[in-house]
Amino acid sequence: MATEAKEGKGAGGDLFVRRASGLTRTVSPWSALVYAFVCPTMTFAFLYYYQEQTAYPGALGWATSFLILPLLPIALIYVFMSLSMPRSGGEYIYVSRILNPLLGFVACWTLTIVGINWSGLLSQWAVNWGLGNLFLAEGLATRNATLISWGKYLSITTPEHRWVIWLIASAILGSAFLVMAMGTKAVMRAMWVVLVTQWVMLISFILIALFAGGQANTLAGFEKVQGIKWTEVTDAVNTVSGGAGLPVFALAATVWAGLVWVNLSTLGSTYAANISGEIKKVNLAMPLSQIGSMVLFFVYWIIFTTVANHGLGDTTIRSLSYIDTQGQATTMLNTLPTISYMVVWMTQNWFLVAVAGPLAFFVATWGGILGLSFAPVRNLFAFSFDGLLPGWVNKVSRNGSPNRAVLLAFVMAWVIMTVSIFTTWWSFITYTVTIWMVGWVILGIAAMVFPWRRKDIFEKSPALVQSRILGIPWITILGLLGTIVAAVSIYATFLVGTTPTFNEKNLVWTAAVFVLAPIVIYFIAVTWQKGKGVEMDKRFKTIPPD
C-alpha cells in the first residue's frame, strides 16, 4: 500500500513517505461528482418552479437556473477550507478559529436552524401537497367523491382543519426522526428508496409531459377534471393585473427568484468533505465535483422547466402562479397547484398521476425531512461537546446513534411546525433563506481574512488553497464574492411579491429571533460553564508554542 506513495515527482517526490502514513488514494472526480449530485431535494422543483413565479411575477422560469452559478464561490469556500482544515467539521470550526467562537456559533447555528425549520415545514407540505394533493388529484381523475373530499380537507391548512393536519404532520415528522434515531444504516437505506422514487417520478413526469399532447391537452384536461373553464383563469389574470395581462419578463424578478428559490434546492450540497487522507495532497476531485454538481443541477433545472413548459404550457403555469399572488388559484382549485398536482391535467390515468405526481412528491418530502436534518443533528451534537448545549445532548445509544440530539432536533422541528400550522409567523419559506444567508455572510468574511488572521494554518495548506491572483489569495476573492452573493440574497428575500402569508414585519422578527438566539445561548452557556469552573473562552484560544 505504501507503494502508491512512491510515485516520486520533483525533488524526491513521495520517496520519503513512511509506511505508517495513513495515506489513501484519492477518489476519482467522477465518483465525487456523482455522489455530490445525488441529493434528495431535486423534486422540490415541482414546487419551487411554481412558487418562485408567485413570489416574483415576471421571473423567467428556466432562466432562474442561471442563479445557481453565483453559489459557486460559496461552494468553493467550503472546498478550500476543508482542504486546509480537513478534520475540522464545517463552518462552526472555520469561523470560530478565524474570527471568534461566538461568530462561529452564530454562523453554524443559522444553517442548523434552517435545516430544522425545513424539517418542520416539510412535514406540513407532506400533508398539504403530498397527501392532500394525492387524494384530490386521484379523486378528480377517477371521479371519486370521497377522495376529493379528503383531498380538499388536507390540501389547505384552514383553521377548521389544522388540528387534523397537525396530527398527521406530527406523525410524518416523527416517523422520519425515528428512522434517524435507528442509526446511519437505516437512514442510508431510506434515502436510497427516496432517491429511486424521485428518479422514477422525474422520468415519468418527463415522458408524460413530452408525449401527452402539450398545452392544448393540458387545458382540456384542466377543464374536464376541475370543472372550471380556463377563461375563468384568464379573466382572473386580467382582474389581478388591472387589465395589463401577465407580467412581462423582468430581469430583476428572474434574478431575485433564482437567488432565493433555485438556491433553496441546493441546501446540503455544499457540505464538502476532505477525503485526501493524512498526507496533504491536492484533491482535485473536490473542487471539480462541486463545480460539476452545480453544472449538472443547472442542466437539470433547464430540462425540468423546459419539459414542464412543453407539457403544461408556459402560460398555464404563469397564469395560475400570477393569480396566486392574491391566493386565487389556490382558492379556485382547493389546493396550491404544484407542478406535481398539474400532472392530473395531462393524464387522468390514476397510476401515472400517483407515480409522476403527488405520491412521489410526498415520498420526496419525507426524504427531505430526513436528509435535511442530518447536518443539524450533527451540529447540535458538536455544540454540546463544546459546552454550548447541555451535556446530555451528546449522549449516544448503544448502537452509537446520537439519539438525544435527534430528539432535540425533533422537538425543535415539531415546535416550528406547530407554530407554522397554527399561525402565519413562520409559514413563508423565504424567511429561512434570510437566516441561512446571514450565516454565509459571516463565512464569507472569515474566508476573506483567513490568510492574515490565521497565517499559521493558511501557510500549512495545500498549494491550491494558497494560490493567488495578482497577489491576492483566491480564498479572499471567493470570500468577497460569497459575501456579496449572500448579502444580495438577503436583500432579495425582502422583495418577495405580496402573497397572503408573506409579511415583511414577520420576516424581520423571524430572522432577528433566529439570529439573536445563538448569541443569547452562547452567553448563557459561558456563564453557566464558568460557574462550574470551565473557562469556555480557552476552548479556541491558541496556546503560545514558545
Binding site: A11, G22, I93
Partner: protein, 318 residues
C-alpha cells in the same frame, strides 16, 4: 480535596509546534498532569535537494520551489517541522541512491525521528523544571520502537507504556500505545488477541478500577470515537450519498471488552483523528480529542477529576 486537572492530547505526529504547545498547556490551562497519548513521530521526510547554484529544490504541499539559503529557507524548514515532517538536506546524487535503497531511507527516517524526539524531550525538561507538572508521553502504533530508549534519560517526561502510574493520590493510570492491525501495518500494530494480553498484564496489577484511567491509544470498537472512512481494496475512501465518506468503526474490540469488563473511571484515546468525541460505556467516560496536527492546531481535552468522579471535561482547540 481539589480536583486534579489533566490535559490530554494525542497524535501530534512529529509536529514541533504541537509538541511545544503541549508542554506549555500545563501553564496555559492550569493543568497538573499532561498526557500525550501516542503517535508522536512524523510521517514524511521532505528532501531539500541542493542545486549547482547553491539553492535548494523542495517539493512541499504539491508545489516545487527553488529557494536560496537564508531566511526564506529557514522559514520553510520551520513550516515543515511544524507540520510534523522532517526536512532533510541532501543532493541529487543521494536522492537517486536512496531511491533504490529502502534500508537507507529507513535509517535516515529513524535518525531524524530520534533527533527531533531528543530535542522535544529537552524542551520539555527545560520548561517543566520546577513547575510540579507531571508529563506522560507514550509512543503510539505509528511510532518505531527505536525512540523508546530516549525516555530513559529524561527527568520530566515519563513513558507510561505498560506501567501502572499513580496520577494523584486517588487515581492510577495504565497505558498502551499499541493498536489492532491497520491497513498500513504500523510498527506497533498487534493482533487484537495480543493487545488483549497486554492489557490484561496491566489490569492484573490494578486494585481499584473505579479510580483507574485507561490511557489506550486505540479507541474502543464501535463507538463515536473510532469512526474512520471505509477504504476499498484500492485504498480509496468509499463515498455515500451527498459525497460524504462512508464511516465505519475501526477501533479495538479488545479495548472495548476491557472497558466493558473493568469499567474504569476514564478512557483516553486517540488514533482516529476524525473521531473527536465522548461516549460513556457504562460508568466509563471515553474521550478522543481528535487531531489536527498538520495545521499546527493542538486538539485536546481538559479533565477535572476528583475522588468521587469526573467533575468536568472541556474539549479544546489550541
Amino acid at each position: 480535596m481539589a480536583a486534579t486537572r489533566i490535559f490530554f492530547t494525542t497524535d501530534t505526529h512529529g509536529s514541533s509546534v504541537c509538541f511545544r504547545k503541549f508542554i506549555n498547556a500545563g501553564k496555559f490551562y492550569d493543568a497538573h498532569v499532561l498526557i500525550l497519548g501516542g503517535d508522536i513521530t512524523g510521517k514524511k521526510v521532505i528532501p531539500f535537494v541542493r542545486q549547482a547554484d547553491g539553492s535548494y529544490k523542495v517539493n512541499h504541499l504539491d508545489r516545487e520551489q527553488l529557494i536560496a539559503e537564508g531566511e526564506q529557507l529557514e522559514a520553510l524548514k520551520r513550516n515543515i517541522t511544524d507540520m510534523g515532517y522532517y526536512p532533510y538536506m541532501t543532493d541529487e546524487r543521494e536522492v537517486e541512491q536512496l531511491g533504490g535503497d529502502p534500508a537507507a531511507q529507513d535509517a535516515i527516517f529513524k535518525d531524524l525521528m530520534k533527533a527531533r524526539m531528543r530535542e522535544s524531550l529537552q524542551i520539555a525538561d527545560e520548561r517543566l523544571e520546577g513547575t510540579g507538572i507531571r508529563c506522560y508521553v507514550q509512543p503510539g502504533n505509528d511510532d518505531e520502537y527505536d525512540i523508546d530508549e530516549l525516555f530513559d534519560g529524561g527527568t520530566s517526561v515519563v513513558n507510561p507504556e505498560g506501567k501502572v502510574i499513580q496520577i494523584d493520590e486517588n487515581h492510577t493510570m495504565i497505558s498502551t500505545g499499541h493498536a489492532n492491525i491497520t491497513p498500513w501495518n504500523c510498527p506497533r500494530d498487534v493482533s487484537d488477541e495480543r493487545l488483549e494480553a497486554m492489557i490484561e498484564a496491566m489490569t492484573s496489577q490494578v486494585t481499584d478500577f473505579e479510580r483507574c484511567i485507561f490511557n489506550f491509544h486505540c479507541p474502543p470498537y464501535d463507538t463515536v470515537l473510532d469512526q474512520a472512512p471505509e477504504l476499498d481494496d484500492q485504498m480509496r475512501p468509499s463515498l455515500e450519498m451527498g459525497g460524504k465518506p462512508h464511516m465505519v468503526p475501526v477501533g479495538s474490540p479488545a479495548v472495548r471488552r476491557a472497558i466493558d469488563k473493568y469499567q474504569p473511571r476514564l478512557g483516553l484515546h486517540g488514533h482516529i483523528h476524525e473521531s473527536r468525541g465522548s461516549q460513556k460505556l457504562g460508568r466509563t467516560l471515553c474521550l478522543n480529542p481528535g487531531s489536527e496536527y498538520g495545521e499546527g492546531v493542538l486538539r485536546g481535552v481538559i479533565i477535572d477529576i476528583e475522588k468521587k468522579g469526573i467533575k468536568s471535561f472541556t474539549f479544546t482547540s489550541g
